[in-house]
Symmetry: none
Subunit: 215 residues, 4 copies
DNA sequence: TATGAATGAGGCTTCATTCAT
DNA sequence: AATGAATGAAGCCTCATTCAT
């Protein structure tokens, strides 16, 4: 009964606003619980934390992996924004790299990537898109730093991405974030190892974007 | 050359030999599966891989955590041996450190420590003993390297242990060991960051043995 | 005759009605199976008898003991009601006692109390509440009968409660209720032993409520 | 190599002595554990308590029920002996009955009969033989007491046997024997109910031996 | 659309029983 | 004959997912 366009539009828009809010609350709750309690948290717990029924989660995300993907992508997107900010703000290219690395750790990127289970489709378009965006930005940052002679030339995008992910993961069987104190120390040590001039020869070859993607 | 040991001795030893062989096969299978598929592998799968019935696993290890503990301890012990070897063989103290770090990674120490689940008793005597042995050795290696002016003085045992564990873990949702190629690159970069002179100031404080243990 | 109750009210009430029905079916099925086959019946069998999935049982009762508790409490409550009825209806105090005893047996109280397993929390508030209610009523009945000179004075609440429970249990390895024929005979014999005047001296001391609870 | 008869005989007899000793230790251990921890104790625990390997239990008793049967029969036999003693020693027939009842309770007959599981063959010849022996003796005792006008005439063998069994069982979810204090009180009360003259009319009919066996 | 309830598959663990020494 | 070890069949419980309101 579309009597009048305007009110009808309201009718259609209002519920969508609620639904979107729900969806966002679910993603936020999932991110928190994944970060705090690891990737095994039951969906029902996420729903409870989000303040919705469990079935509402499934309405928004067909299965568990879809929810995980959404969370991971959203974190990657925020990380990309951090990289863009670092690029824009820092005069020195290596300083930009450092800012980005620590910002990525604060996004818990390390805690969230591991959520990817064995059934998870690593090649899902959304995931690929988010990852590539981050990769391109990192490549940009690293390229500038290398050009400025501040970053050793024998490292690649993959080296940095994996190291940041690993070092910022909750260490070992730790449920929570207690490790925060360490994380930035370890990242700083790693960054010091990245500076030019290189202090040793690296085994293997630099991991480029292409190689990362081949996996 | 036991030409004529008493038959009685054989009688007592023989059955135990089979059982020990089984126990070792179980531990080996568990280590492989934990490394390849993460800490969540069903015990029944471990049993299948070991070629025994599931109950045989439980006969040898009262519950899942006991099996995990055995695997973790055995890996730590091998790591400790690697550290002793590095101490004995290397003239240069930092070189010893490098040898030890790469050897520890080859032991998959990073893949195995995370097995420690939330129900796991971090303070079990066996586990504590193995861990302390490793810690003492690392402290010895690092102390020598610092004394030789090769290792930056603002790092502690905990920094190294956690970094090695994290960097040598199977990265992210990776089931298997594909990451091996990266691991030694990343460790080498981290080691370069550890060299003296320090290239930056580290946030926080060095993690000593005592602090590690307090957690 | 709810001609036009609000539809909203229906919406809220309806689903709960189904769930409640399920819950009651589970309790009823559990009671039957416990009575017929003893306290060891698999939960899955109870679920099957109730016509629900096993997980539905666990949704309603977090673990086996919770289900057992519910059944035991419901039986105790019905027994208490029988005691109240006996108190209200019978002019003669000993007759009231007899009525109550036979009614309790008909409730299968003897078959159900033994369900209390070793892991069972004997001090759970619900259980304590139901038990105390029964105890107080029995004390009331026995007190009156003693005052009327119909009940020997050297017996206590505990004597009666335990005797009724034991005598009304399914005898020995009997799966089912075949023993019903005996039960009321045995209870009647026991009741005859309770009458004043006492025909012998009893060993030990009367078991009061307090002593029962101390155990 | 039967060189000489005498030594050979020794050879054959000696091991049998050991085996018999083992068998007896197993039965004794089983009885203790059944009494203390209920009918669910694992066979391996019985074996440990007996100080033998589990397989030795199975060598002597093909399956669990066979062990249970042996224990039950041995207890019944001892109970029969108690009945014979009571018959021989007591001048008064009802006093003999009382002695027998309390002696049977001390044999834990109530704790052991319930071991009879649902898979148990109630009609096994050994079991039937032991039971009939007890029944005949009880009938003898009761017959004399009735003839002496000390036992009410409307009770049967089955009434007594079942009541003794039930009243001497460990009450409810009790692992152990704590109930001992009550047992003899309750039995005494029941015995008082058995005395002539009868204080009430019993429902149903006296349970004779034949009826017991028909079940 | 949102929800609570229902489901079935699967993991951990125990135990009666059998096998190999 | 005696033993320790091995086995597989259950039972309990959890959780991803689907249904019915």
């Amino acid at each position: 009964m579309p009597a009048a366009t305007a009110p009808a539009e309201r009718k259609v828009t209002r519920p969508r606003a609620d639904a979107l809010r729900n969806r966002e609350r679910i993603v936020a709750a999932a991110r928190e619980m994944f970060v705090e309690h690891g990737p095994e948290v039951p969906i029902d717990e996420v729903a409870r934390r989000a303040g919705v029924g469990n079935a509402t989660v499934y309405r928004n995300f067909p299965d568990r992996d879809a929810l995980v993907r959404e969370v991971v992508c959203s974190v990657m997107d925020r990380t990309a924004e951090a990289a863009e900010l670092a690029l824009a703000e820092s005069g020195d290219a290596f300083t930009a790299l450092e800012h980005f690395v620590h910002a990525a750790a604060d996004e818990r990127i390390g805690a969230l990537c591991p959520m990817v289970s064995s059934t998870f489709d690593q090649h899902h378009p959304d995931l690929v898109a988010s990852r590539e965006r981050v990769e391109r930005l990192i490549e940009e940052v690293m390229g500038r730093a290398k050009a400025a002679g501040r970053l050793r030339p024998d490292v690649g995008v993959g080296d940095l991405m994996i190291a940041v992910g690993q070092l910022s993961r909750p260490p070992a069987g730790t449920d929570c974030l207690r490790g925060d104190r360490f994380v930035h120390r370890l990242l700083q040590l790693f960054l010091d190892g990245l500076r030019a001039p290189a202090r040793s020869a690296l085994p293997g070859e630099a991991l480029s974007i292409r190689e990362l993607r081949a996996s």
